[in-house]
Every structure is written in C-alpha cells, then in structure tokens.
Amino acid sequence: MSGGILRYTLAERVVHWSAAITYCYVLATGLAFYSPHLYWIAVLLGGAPTSRFWHPIVALAFLATLAWMLKAWTGDMRITAADRRWGRAMNRYIANDDEDLPPSDRFNLGQKYFFWVMVWGGVGLLVSGIILWFPEAIPWNLRFLRYAAVLIHVACALITIGAFIIHVYMGTAMVRGGFTSIIRGEVSPAWAKMHHRLWYERTASK
C-alpha cells in the first residue's frame, strides 16, 4: 500500500460493513413481508416466523452502526458552500464529465445526501418500527399512530432502498477505487485529488 492515503480507518470500515450486512438482512426480510411475490425470500432465510423474529432485532443492530457513523461523521457530512457549488454541477458529474468540477471535501454532496437520507430514514423506521413491533402497547384511542406507522415504515424503507441502490452502484461499478477504499481503507493520491480535492489538500498538508 505504498503511497496510499488512509481514507477510512479500520473502525470505520468495520462499522460500514456491519451496517451493510445488517441493512441487507433487514432489507431482504422486509421485502419478503412487503410483497407476496417476494415472500420466498423469508423462506430462504429460515422461514417467515424466524425472519419476523430477527427483523426488528437486526434492525436495532443496523441502527447502532448508524448511530456510530452519525457520531463519527457528523462534521464531515455537514453541507457547505463548496458542496452547493458542486451540486450545481452535478449533471456533469453524473455524465462523467469530471473536468473542472468544483472540489469536494472528504465526502461530496451526493454522499452527504445518502448519509442524511439513511439517518433520517433510519429515525423514521425506528419510530414506526417500534409501534409495529408492539402494536398492542398503543392504546386503542391512539390507534392513528398504528395507521401512520405502517405508512411511515414502508415509505422510509422505500426511500432508503432507492438511496441504497444508487450507493451500491456507485460504490462498486461507477466510481472505480471507491470499493477498494472501503475494504482496505486506502486510496491513491490521484484518486483523492480527483474526487475529494479539498480533503486531499487538507490531508496532504498535515
């Protein structure tokens, strides 16, 4: 790893992959309960009652990783004026026309959007999920909370799924080097300069 720049610490990588595994389990079991056409997923995962038992518990583990990331990355995820400049040029970024894009810090605006979608989606899923977990604890005259919870839970889930699809696509297929960085933690100086110049300059000057 000579010449590499440390982009993600070991702790960050471990937590990221813990989040990935727990999210994928909750996603798969959730989809099984979402549609009769996907119910077979629960069968593959040990049966629907088992899936239902573990879904909320694994979800809590996912939310714990999310809380860790929130604590570790809140500073890096704050949206700045530089991000807004980058955001105005996002169409060029999407079209891989990366010459002269406004520079980003450790995370670009798209990554920050993904992060906050997962955080707020996670909050919505947690609150609605607890109601769905213990519906009989909600008094009958507050039953509108149950009705709201089913909608909030599925809406938040769908929003995080949309973000997750884009995240996985960009992390594996689109942005070459990104996948390696979240596995081994390091990126090349050229990669850092191209994708996260402000972060690169900050790190290099240290």
């Binding site: 720049i5 309960f33 009769p36 119910y39 799924i161 081994r184």
Partner: protein
C-alpha cells in the same frame, strides 16, 4: 377444514387455490343484545369447545369477566351502564368478538401467505400454522379483535367455530345461549330475523331507534347485532358507528406497493442504463484509482 372453500387468502400471489369450485351459503351469527342477560354461558362454551386454557381475570368493579378479550379468550360480554334522558337507567350487554367482516381489514394487512383466510361461507379464520406473529392484523382490524400470544408469537381470535360449522353444527356459543339471544344461520335469514326483531322493538316498545348492526363500511359482517339504539353504537362498549379498514392500510397495500415496486425496479434499470451510457468513472492520470 376440508369442506370449507377459501375465497380470500392473505399474503398470497394470485387467486386462492380452489376459488369458485363450490358454492356455499353465507353464514352469520345474530346477537340480539335486547334479550341478552349477561350470563356468560357463551364465554364458557367458547373456552370449552376451543379448549382454551384458563386465564386469570382482572376485577374492575363490573360484571365484565375481564377488561378486554385475550388471545385465549375470544368472546367477552361487555357490560355498560347507560343513562338515558327519557327513560330509566339501562344496562347494555354486548357479546364482543370477531365480526367476520366481508371485507376483513386483518386479511388485507396480513403479509403471511395463508395465515388469514376467508371461507366461501364468510367465516374469517386465522391459520396459526402460517402466522408469523407480525401483528399487522391487529392494526388492520377496525374492531380491535385479534390478540397476540407473546409466547407462541401467534395471533388468535374467534373462528366462528369453523370446525363445527364445517360439520353442519352451530357455533358453541349459540348452542349454550339460554335465552336464545344468539342465532345462527344463513346471512340472509339472520338479517331478516334481525330486521323483524328490530321492527318489533320499534313498534311495540320504547326503542324507536332499534336496528340491526351490519356495517357497510366493511362490506357487512358475519356477526350482526340487534341494538336498542342503532344511533348510539359507542354506548355498547366502543362498538364503532362506521367501521372501515384503515385508509392507511389500504394505501399501504395498494397504491404504495405498486409505486414502490415501480420505483425499485426503475432504480435498478436506471443504474444499469447509466452504466451502459456513461460507464465507470476513471481517475484521469492513468493510475487505476484505488490503491489496491
């Protein structure tokens, strides 16, 4: 039950197996609250026939056996003291339990294949073997009927004695009722019987608002009530005036599902098209990007 045909099934892709292969009469239970004496024979018969284990009750200064139904207590007479302006104090006794809706909210909400079925005769039955314990039925039911057993993680409610009905017998509660306030038969017959009783009450007693409770918001019910006052259903221990499957359950199981399916498939197609059109983002100066 072998000779009960299924017409609606929860969490199932495609139509119920065997749909429309046999015609069966709609059955119904008619509960005449005006002749109920609150003896609780129906409660006991229900426990006995269904072999439900004994549970401790909570005494809250009423004759009611316990505050609410339970996973092993499927029918409960609700005792309500009702003060009327124009007449003496009235004691309302309503045998509560599953209403066997024609349009069951529990079944609409259930994600487990075959955990809730509606037979062609109208009985809505929980199949605990297929139940996954998610309790969505608790949210879907407008009558607050399904009850969760936290130990077995299964939900239970009145079966309308589907096992007895399939053998041509009436439900156990009907058999036990000493005043004949519980009736069982075809839905049409029970509706007619209820209407004639309500007419009798209106014409020959002071109950000018007597009527039959068969709420259209859930497509009518397989359990109907004759009430002294159809305009004041809430007085009978929280019987909703116009029950409906919650609109959020409808939205969740209908449009939102299709919207979500389209969005998820669209997302997958979208990223694939993006890759085909634009390809990967390479680091420009010849290095292959990541340091590995």
């Amino acid at each position: 039950m072998a000779n009960l045909r299924i017409q609606k099934i929860s969490g199932h892709a495609g139509p119920p197996p065997g749909l429309g292969t046999q015609r069966q009469e709609q059955v119904a239970k008619l509960i005449d609250t005006t002749t109920c004496i609150g003896c609780k024979a129906c409660e006991v018969a229900c426990m006995e026939w269904n072999d439900l284990p004994f549970r401790e009750t909570v005494f809250d200064n009423t004759y009611q056996t316990m505050p609410d139904m339970a996973w092993n207590y499927w029918t409960l007479i609700r005792f309500n003291e009702h003060a009327r302006d124009d007449a003496p104090f009235q004691w309302l006794m309503r045998k509560d339990g599953c209403m066997h809706c024609a349009d069951p909210g529990c079944l609409a909400a259930c994600p487990a294949d075959g955990a809730i079925v509606q037979y062609q005769n109208g009985i809505v039955d929980f199949q605990q073997d297929n139940c996954i314990g998610c309790q969505y039925c608790v949210t879907g039911c407008p009558f607050n009927v399904p009850k969760f057993n936290p130990h077995t993680k299964r939900v239970f409610k009145c079966t309308l004695c589907s096992d007895r009905v399939s053998q041509g017998l009436e439900p156990a509660c009907i058999k036990a009722c000493p005043t004949g306030c519980l009736h069982f038969g075809t839905k049409d017959d029970m509706k007619a019987l209820g209407e004639s009783r309500a007419r009798q009450l209106r014409d020959h007693s002071s109950f000018a608002n007597a009527g039959v409770y068969d709420p259209p918001g859930v497509g009518g019910t397989g359990v109907m009530y004759v009430l002294h006052d159809i305009t004041n259903t809430e007085a009978y221990g929280g019987l909703p005036a116009n029950p409906r499957v919650p609109w959020s359950v409808r939205l969740w199981k209908g449009p939102l599902k299709w919207l979500g399916n389209i969005a998820m498939i669209g997302g997958l197609i979208g990223v694939t098209l993006h890759y085909l059109r634009y390809g990967p983002k390479q680091v420009k100066d010849g290095s292959s990007g990541g340091s590995a």
